[in-house]
């Protein structure tokens, strides 16, 4: 059987086409975002418990975090 490499094992190299400085006045490095923005553009790696549906778990996260919008990446069946 032909083996296919998982995408998370792919190693890529960066090739520079042109050089230019970035202006520190605009934007932030992701790890240096002000806390409000850090949350707004944030993602939680949740360990889903057995029982509730992915949708319910997402609703709980919204309630705990007191935020209006959240979405999960890929339904895990309830059970």
């Amino acid at each position: 059987m032909h083996k296919i490499k998982p995408p998370w094992e792919t190693k890529r190299k960066l090739i520079v086409k042109a050089e230019e400085e970035t202006d520190p006045h605009f934007g932030h490095r992701p790890e240096e975002r002000p806390i409000r923005e850090h949350i707004k553009f944030g993602i939680i790696n949740l360990d889903k418990p057995s029982g509730p549906s992915s949708h319910e778990v997402t609703a709980w996260v919204k309630r705990i975090m007191k935020i209006e919008k959240a979405g999960h990446g890929g339904t895990l069946e309830a059970q």
Partner: protein, 254 residues
């Protein structure tokens, strides 16, 4: 079913699409309907590696037509009576319940999925900053009480983490705001490109500060992008950054 369920907050929900399309890993208990020798189970698990055909199950959210999925690995872990523990790395949209059923048919004893735990969704694994609902609720109240901003920085990760496995294109500050307004990426805006990009592939457009600007479909290969001095290199599919974060440096056409 338990395990890795990345949850995107507020503006980061735009990125969910990238997680849905990324590969997954599961640890699964498959229950055989008759006892089978271990070597037979091992060899059938191996047969279900590579490209397999799969018809989505009755209760599925997609059309039930035969489709192909890539299985990166099916690793046998343990057999105990009729229970088989194995680890599967697979493409997005692979139904593990169906995989177990089909493995059971191939073993001619039939089988079903007994238990499932997702151990990876794209770059998110159960070992990298994964938290339970209890921990989340505890840490959130800790943060509210102490106002210690290092707490949320620990359990919330920047959305850029999601794009770790996508090929990236880094662009000039002057090209950022045009992309945020939905423009496609043109060659002069490109500063650096990752290797192995082929045309029509999902890529992530980044600033030099490594902020995600957009998800974009490549229109050329890495080599071609490096050679191009004009023309479009990627078609913007999903804008992730707000307008106005970087200055507007493009001329408004009519």
């Amino acid at each position: 079913m338990t395990g890795v369920l990345p949850i995107a907050l507020a503006e980061a929900t735009k990125i969910v699409q990238a997680i849905l399309l990324s590969g997954k890993e599961y640890v699964c208990v498959m229950r055989l309907h008759a006892e089978m020798p271990e070597d037979r189970v091992r060899s059938v698990l191996n047969e279900f590696c590579g490209t397999i055909y799969q018809r989505p199950p009755v209760r599925a959210s997609v059309k039930r037509r035969l489709r192909t999925r890539n299985i990166y690995y099916n690793t046998f872990l343990e057999i105990n009576g009729r229970n088989v523990l194995f680890k599967v790395g697979c493409e997005a949209g692979t139904y593990i319940r169906k995989l177990c059923y089909d493995i059971g048919e191939a073993l001619s004893c039939s089988a079903h999925m007994q238990e499932l735990r997702r151990t990876r969704a794209g770059p998110f694994t159960e070992n990298t900053n994964s938290i339970t609902l209890h921990e989340l609720s505890y840490l959130y109240s800790q943060w509210q009480e102490t106002n210690d901003e290092t707490i949320p920085k620990k359990f919330i990760q920047p959305m850029e983490k999601t794009l770790e496995n996508l090929p990236k294109i880094y662009i000039r500050d002057s090209a950022v705001d045009a992309i945020c307004h939905g423009a496609n990426l043109a060659a002069p805006g490109v500063l650096s490109v990752e290797t192995d990009i082929k045309p029509n592939q999902m890529t992530a457009v980044f600033t030099q500060k490594t902020e995600a600007v957009a998800l974009a479909k490549s229109l050329a290969s890495t080599e071609e992008i490096l050679d191009m001095d004009h023309g479009l290199v990627a078609k913007t599919e999903r804008v992730l950054m707000h307008r106005g974060v970087y200055p507007k440096m493009w001329r408004g056409g009519l």
